[in-house]
Symmetry: C2
Subunit: 553 residues, 2 copies
């Protein structure tokens, strides 16, 4: 019988599901687990393992570079062998298809039954030794968008890209530029790009809001055999609390990635198989979700979109399922998304757009490298503080205590004060050691959370730039075709107009990125420095206490 | 020809001295140096290598314990084989005899021509990895006192110790207790022990003074072929500056050790063969000499003694040589020193004396262990700050700088302030790294200098306690002899009286030790903490500067 087993042994029972999707519990001792390797269990898992990158997995340092590669090739070249694009679409596509399954499996615990191997514990469980490749809380699924995007159906005058794995094709960018997208755009779906001080900008959400994520609570079903964590979300604009699980975030994320080809959807925190009910993990995931939510509500387009609003506000189970089905059947995704974009501004200079896109490509590459660098450095710095620094200060403390113990053998009145003061100094240094160990979670962790979120964005941009460049190439191709008399001028004009739409969107997205980047890094650097200052002041104050002890000595 | 060669080749010339002490320069190429090993060159050296212990050499952790060993043996047992007492007297005696040579060799450069191997540079040149055995700036020559002490000449009724290497014998303690010491005590030489609040005390020096040691200056002689460092000493009570070299301190130290059997003469800083003209070494030696001087002028007996006063005040070369000869011929050394001690107080309870001596023995053992512990810990702490801590903070600084460099690719007006602020933050962390590296010489080093000085004292005490215990044993022996009718009661009374004198002196010295210990450790711990507080405040202030940069961002 073909049974998929959950790898989690729940008090001697294993949960399995057969090929019909029926689930049941079987004594663990009846079952022999046969695994080939971790990779295999990844693939066998029914849970959508969209986030194979983990905080501590090696994010390829040349990630964005590698993703840029197809861009350097002529569009019509055959696809590179899959091995070259290990983050290539098919695997991800499977994931998102799984996420679009029937309502019946909606309650399946993707996260709970995930077979992702747990990482062996490091010094602190969080900070590890690692090489140049940094850790990332957020997985990076570069080419994940548009798995279900409307495939091109008609032939066109402008040559079609034969690479079916090209992001430009998958995203729907090509179909849109070639004029193949069609759909009815409701007023509510319209997205406006305006011309701002620094170039194209998404029109601000006129009703900005934020959303808190609180009270992660363990809940159970199946008579307590299955547990999960539910978070309480309270958006400021509705003030209605909704309860959401990780898999709801995961489902929403898949919808957004599919819908918005040139918008950098913030990655949700990584999946994790074991230790999911440990306080540290829950707290870390909550922080990741808060960051994610912050970027969602900060984004003029994402914050307004129906599926996100449904996610934020729906409390009724029946309405939820209806909304879920509706979102999964949304036609305005991929190529059709571009139909919803309008701009009143004059067309952009496409050469300038190309130059800006190239500049941004260089920027993201350099930022990706330095984020990796900062991440690795802070990770190591935290590890050192938790282990080495703490140890050194505690050793100093212990040695002072040993001195005071020796001195206590002399109990003449004029010695007693000194003995106590030295003993206190020893304790103070032991406390300072603890301060060092406790500090990283106050300052390093938030920075690393931010960096991880940005690593996700930086991994998104190669695809976005790829779509932009693909559109620009189509414009050039069509111009050539017109010159060669193979295409009508009006048709080429349509290509140019549609490329202009994509360009507005891409430029607006880049501008948005820079704005939130400056906002976020300013705030985080300030937070980091304030915490560090508070930390050193706390040490100073402890040592001042110790010094005062000698006044009485 | 039997020639002793200085091992220092001075621009192609070697200095040698023949068996008559005549010195001259010979081209180095004419001479073949034959060395067996380092130990041999130590022994062949004409320079008194009294201080084979170096800051980084391994001071045996059980140093004081080992020295106590003879004490646990019955006095009349034969001496332990020399190998058991590697700090045993004969080698040291040689040293001090050499130091008592004619005026002709007074100008020999013991220190300059020392063949002590230079230590290979460590991380900082000062802080090294080392095992449980700590480093010591001051050498420890446990059994060095009384090499020239008046030997017992007459037979006595109380059994004589057959162990000629016993400190009790060498120090003159035995001879004094047996009533064999005799000499004329001048009024100026009289030393009074009073009964204070905590027991016997040395009578305070009615004219307390201190002495500065400044301006270490390189001077030359032999037409520039020989160089040495001269220090300017200015005692507060004379206000006359004198110029002294390390070898003068060394000579004085030998006189004091010989003269005062139960006084812990502070050790002078270690000898060093090479690098003697390097700024760091000169500064370190000067600090060591200042500490030494502080303990000399703080000591009621040492501060007043003739040879020290001569050392501090003599400026005339002829008078210096006269004083030198006089000191070397001083008869009131060793056994006779005890003749100079007087006390008006009632005799001590010798059982209580024994118990206090035992208690102090335990105290010094425990203090020695913990001083070693603190020393090792602070040494490692300093090393970590100079290497690891600095590196970590600088790596954090560099990573922030790399981030700012990436961000600088985006030069939009709203980015510039942040870019600058992050760059500044990077520099601030690099500066913090430097602060860590610079700090140990401000706080750890002074503590280690103090510990080294105390390690010297702690190495002295086993011998002092040994003399005390030897005297007590003689009292017991003589009582037994009286009971057995082998000794006159009056003779036994004499032994007891003289033991009482030794006991007063030992108890006063122990009391003095506790007083300066409390004074010194209080002051040093306060200094250490103040420096540490200043250090963390400096870091705080630097980070506050960085934080303010974001106000403009």
């Amino acid at each position: 019988m073909d049974i998929l087993w959950s790898e989690q042994d729940i008090e001697g029972w294993l949960e399995g599901s057969n090929s019909k999707g029926e689930r049941g519990l079987v004594p663990a001792s009846y079952v022999e687990m046969i695994k080939n390797d971790t990779a295999t269990s990844y693939n066998n898992s029914t849970s959508g393992d969209a986030y194979q990158g983990s905080r501590y997995s090696n994010v390829p340092s040349g990630g964005s570079d590698a993703s840029y590669k197809p861009n350097n090739q002529v569009e019509n070249f055959p696809p590179p062998p899959p091995a070259l694009s290990n983050l290539s679409a098919p695997a991800q596509q499977h994931t998102y298809q799984a996420s679009q399954g029937s309502d019946d499996d909606w309650d399946d615990d993707w996260d709970d039954s995930s077979t992702v191997a747990d990482e062996p514990g490091g010094v602190s469980g969080r900070y590890r030794d690692f090489d140049a490749n940094g850790p990332s809380t957020y997985s990076i699924s570069t080419s994940s968008r548009g798995g279900n995007a409307q495939q091109a159906k008609s032939s066109a005058t402008v040559s079609r890209n034969l690479n079916r794995f090209s992001t430009f094709v998958k995203s729907g960018g090509e179909a849109f530029v070639l004029g193949e997208a069609s759909g009815f755009v409701k007023d509510g779906d319209k997205i406006c790009v305006t011309m701002g001080q620094y170039g194209p900008e998404w029109q601000e959400n006129p009703y900005p809001f934020s959303c808190t994520i609180d009270d992660p609570t363990k809940q159970t079903k199946f008579k307590g055999m299955k547990s999960y964590i539910a978070y309480k979300l309270t958006p400021t604009h509705t003030q209605n609390q909704v309860s959401r699980r990780y898999k709801h975030f995961d489902w929403l994320y898949a919808r957004l990635v599919e819908k918005f080809p040139v918008i950098s959807v913030p990655h949700i925190p990584e999946k994790q198989a074991t230790g999911r009910f440990e306080e540290d993990f829950i707290s870390k995931r909550r922080k990741g979700l808060i960051w994610w939510m912050n970027h969602m509500t900060s984004h003029p387009v994402l914050s307004k979109c129906d599926v996100f609003q449904h996610f934020l506000s729906c409390t009724d189970e029946k309405a939820w399922k209806q909304g879920k089905r509706k979102a999964e059947k949304d036609e305005m995704v991929g190529a059709n998304f571009f139909l919803t974009i309008s701009t009143l501004a004059a067309p952009l200079d496409l050469q300038e757009v190309e130059s800006k896109a190239d500049g941004f490509k260089v920027f993201t590459k350099k930022m990706d490298d330095s984020v990796l660098h900062v991440n690795a450095t802070l990770n190591e710095f935290a590890r050192k503080q938790i282990a080495g620094f703490k140890k050194e200060y505690q050793k100093v403390g212990l040695s002072f205590k040993s001195l005071s113990q020796a001195f206590e053998l002399d109990q003449q009145t004029y010695s007693v004060g000194l003995n106590q003061a030295i003993a206190y100094t020893g304790e103070a240094y032991e406390a300072v050691g603890d301060y060092f160990a406790e500090q990283p979670k106050l300052d390093v962790d938030p920075v690393m959370d931010l960096l991880a979120l940005y690593q996700g964005h930086l991994a998104n941009y190669p695809d976005i730039i790829h779509v932009q460049k693909g559109a620009l190439t189509k414009v050039k191709d069509s111009q050539k075709h017109v010159e060669e008399g193979k295409m009508e001028g009006s048709q080429a004009e349509g290509v140019r107009d549609r490329c202009n739409i994509i360009s507005f969107a891409t430029m607006a997205e880049i501008q948005h990125f820079h704005h939130i980047r400056v906002r976020d890094f300013k705030a985080q650097m300030q937070h980091y420095l304030r915490e560090q200052i508070g930390f050193f002041q706390k040490i100073t104050s402890k040592l001042e206490d110790a010094l005062h002890m000698y006044d009485k000595a």
